[in-house]
Symmetry: C2
Subunit: 321 residues, 2 copies
Amino acid sequence: MRINKSEAAALLLKEDDVLILTHKNPDGDTLGSGYALCRALLKLGKKARVECFDPIPKKYDYMFEGLDVIEFEPSYIVAVDVADTKLLGEGFEKLYGNNIDLCIDHHSSNIMYAKKTCLYEEDAATAETIYSIICNLGVEIDEGMASCIYTGLSTDTGCFRYSNASSKTYRIASEMIELGVNNGAINSLMFESKSLSQLRLLKLSIEGMKLYFDNKCAIVTLTQKMFEDSGAHENESETISSLARQVEGVLVGATLRERPDGTYKVSVRTHAPVDAAKICSKMNGGGHKRAAGCEINLPLEQATQVLLNHIESGIKEAYEE
Amino acid sequence: MRINKSEAAALLLKEDDVLILTHKNPDGDTLGSGYALCRALLKLGKKARVECFDPIPKKYDYMFEGLDVIEFEPSYIVAVDVADTKLLGEGFEKLYGNNIDLCIDHHSSNIMYAKKTCLYEEDAATAETIYSIICNLGVEIDEGMASCIYTGLSTDTGCFRYSNASSKTYRIASEMIELGVNNGAINSLMFESKSLSQLRLLKLSIEGMKLYFDNKCAIVTLTQKMFEDSGAHENESETISSLARQVEGVLVGATLRERPDGTYKVSVRTHAPVDAAKICSKMNGGGHKRAAGCEINLPLEQATQVLLNHIESGIKEAYEE
């Protein structure tokens, strides 16, 4: 059942002992949304904590600075920025997948697995939805919450670069900075700081980039060998996802990341009018119009061919509509 | 003489036949400020035009879409985002350098060459100052002006990434988007679109990057040979300026660009507390605390050594204060 933001706030006001779940491979939006909500519930005197199936990268430490981890038996489970129970991570999917009371999200690919779903596809980040819910809870936003919300807005819009950043996104960001957010420092942590191994991986990615369909499509492949040669960790390769789409004239940029088990994690980024979510949905994935993802369990050559076929149809469809 | 924003607006209201000058090697802020002001003056029924000593890169075409170039003998000359008459370009400096009636700027290194100077160092972009002046002119901002102002804000803050972007910067951006700015398309033009030759230059830059002083300083050198090998034009190398500072732990990132005549254009970017303007002022340059520039007329090895000496002192000074 779909509910709106004030209904979500009304539900949360009635609950205590709230467990908040983020998606696996956590990013700034799922964590920012989770910790902002957690801080708001704690301020209301409720018990609340955030859990993530994967370890949380160190750069997000400031989000839970000063928060005590409270032990309690959860009586209400909220998932934030999680479009599918699969994305909770295998262990969490088994444990919680059938018992999510409330999902707060902005992915149009949300499979509506929760008892109640507060879904705003037009919001640039789930943190934008969370901002409104916290206002509806009647909680005064403090610097801690503001930093979490700002991080979600910033990371899900490529630092306010992409077309999903709306007038409202900027207005909320302005308000969060007014509340004391150190926006320069947060963006420096999220976007500016690259390790030497990340730069080596970037160099290898540029070298290996291939163009297709009259340069309308660019593909970057990150193999296990490239991770080894550069010394970069898989979670250091996130920024590479935007590289392929950045090439002049390219409509679809895709990145294939080889996993240790030989399967491929695929990220697809598009320019209008090509729909990334549509392309990925044909390979059992999903996401947003301009950024989506899927997984392919085939050897590299075949994986690339499958991906290219769907990209080619995606480009054609976009211009036929 | 320094004047405030409302005084600048009052002066402009009295003038007709206004020539607006931008700095050479024009960027989004000087052009955005110039064309926003020009559009506002035209809306008031005045004659106005923008001139730049260098050709304006094609990506800024939308700023003067629909504007007729009006021929008239200027009776009032305004320089926007120009900290020093040297930056007008050689030909323009001779022609106009001693006759600038009003300078509107945000560079703390401004040498106060104009008859009146409206200088707001705390503004992230000159476009932020121009926004207030246009409001003071009583002109209703339209989509054309809004696109110019937004571009200035976005380009001078690294797309709202740097610490100079304030709550006010975001608030104005929000308002400009509300007025119809296609922020996604503008940022895509300004930041996303890289030619293959630019990517090749990026690859060469990463390969050649050198670290100094316990990795607190990174230097990228762009030689004429690298421009030839990559096929990139000098004005395609602007984004490389931010590369060196992005390395984890680096406090000062510098880029040396070899010019066809063998001199070097230097760009210095810092993290707090190191002051880039101070470092560059010792080499007769200037700019902002986190981003500044200068020129060095020495062979590469000596140029690098001079630069490194000033960077080393700059780091020491920052930690002694």
